[in-house]
Amino acid sequence: MIAGKTWREVRVMAFAYLVILELLCVPVLLLWPDIYADLQRSALMKNLGIDWLKRIGEGVTSRDEDIAYLNWCAVMLFFRSTNLVGTAAAVLLGTGLFARERENQTFESLLALPVSRGRMLWQKVWPPALCLVVPVYLVNASAIFWSRQIDLDLPKWELFLASTHAAVFMLLFFLLTTYLSVRLRVQAHVAAGVGAFAVLQIGIYLTQRIRPYSIFHLADYEWYSPVLAGNTPAWQMFDPIRSHGYTTWLLLACLCVYGLTWRALHKAVP
């Protein structure tokens, strides 16, 4: 019942999110041949002053168009779409889950239902989590179709791996938002809290020396590009012992935040 109600609340937003992701994806893929030609002619991308921007520039202007296209997809589909739009959607979907119940004075009725708090949390979380994750796979799958329209190919397995990592990254933001939604009483405060966290992380990311300490470092161009190129096999993504295992670390972080949220909801009083 709770899951059904949550689904009714988020379905419109989820559909809008899917449409926005797709609209962001289609033109940058279909216009790739022209963009690539322009990039080849432009000296700007190769002479960017900041190291990581320079690496992006070098990647998307590679002489091998297939590699340049993969790098372009890493930037546009993942670094831009899922990181920015996905994170914004995660915050929008998570903000009201519990804080809105408090604002509408329905929180006490919710807690008084004959349902355990653990089940309540799960039923509140999984519909928006699915709404967040499924469009990533759908849009990235559609990228295969759009790429064929310009006679280029995207590797399915590598695209799936990158989508999985992006989905876990967004889930982490969504769960952080949900945690604050349980702790705080006003939706605006939740949004401000997560927004401040995101801005701080972006600030760290844009600062050369401390960039590795930003959460966005776990899901940037330099992460997605080797995955799409097939240079980061699945075991490296998931094995935190023999390799960096970033995806597993993100999953563990998701579990930790979910646990904290569960604990906060257990302690919540009307």
């Binding site: 009714r8 004959p114 009307p270």
Partner: protein
Amino acid sequence: MDPAIAVTGLHKAFGERPVLRSVDLQVARGELLGVVGPNGAGKSTLFRVLLGLVPKDRGEVRVLGLDPATAAIAIRTRTCYLPGENGSYLQMTGREFLAYAFGFRPTRDDARLARLQDGFALPLQQKVRSYSAGMKQKLLLLGSLVPDVDLYVLDEPDRALDASVRFFVRDELRTMRTLGKTIVLSSHHLGEVEALADRLEFLLDGTFVPSTRLAAARAALRHRPRIRLRTGAVLPLGAREVAREPDGTLVVATDGDPMAWLRTVPDGTVDSAEVGIPRLEDLYQVLLAQQGAAP
């Protein structure tokens, strides 16, 4: 048979502020208990402890034979609770809200549903956001009274309802009591709860007022009629003004029997008089005064 509710020595504080202090309460199965008290007396906190929504600090609590600290879900499965400060899901229609509310407790009394739907005449196909405050309260009452459970805990069920609807709800609660349902409700309408409930408990500063003290307060109030004087009239001898309400009504204290005093009042002095009908706020003031005077 176990009582529906058994509370002994219940203490609850929020930080340094005690809200419930050594509360003892027994409610028999099939009983309709009215709990009255001023705002902040601890009524809502007591109900929340009973439902396991707020943990107790000390004391023994059993609801339907179960401990809310360990069996809250089992208690809530057999209980319907209407919180005092309760909002509605504005984006739902009335019908969607009821489907949601009934979904958690599958057994419901269809005859009661039909009666309440008829009596409330709510436009269930409309969104709740278009409802007035009274209509929202009626919808919440539908959601709380229709499921067929053992215990109903209703925190101010008459909030935002006009008199005719309050009487209709009162009749329905009477019917439920005859079916053996246990009902605990709070209200600020002292007279109406008194007429409805099997027993009335007065919660003041986190503890129930003993019946002897309540009886003494009522007796004291019997000597405090409410009168409205005609324009230009002065208060006749034999009574003194205790309070003046914003609408001009005077609460007066008489030396002897107020009825005898009223009979001596000259014609054309008093417009209206009310004797022996205690109001919650008056009762509260008298009890507070007694508390201050107590050694």
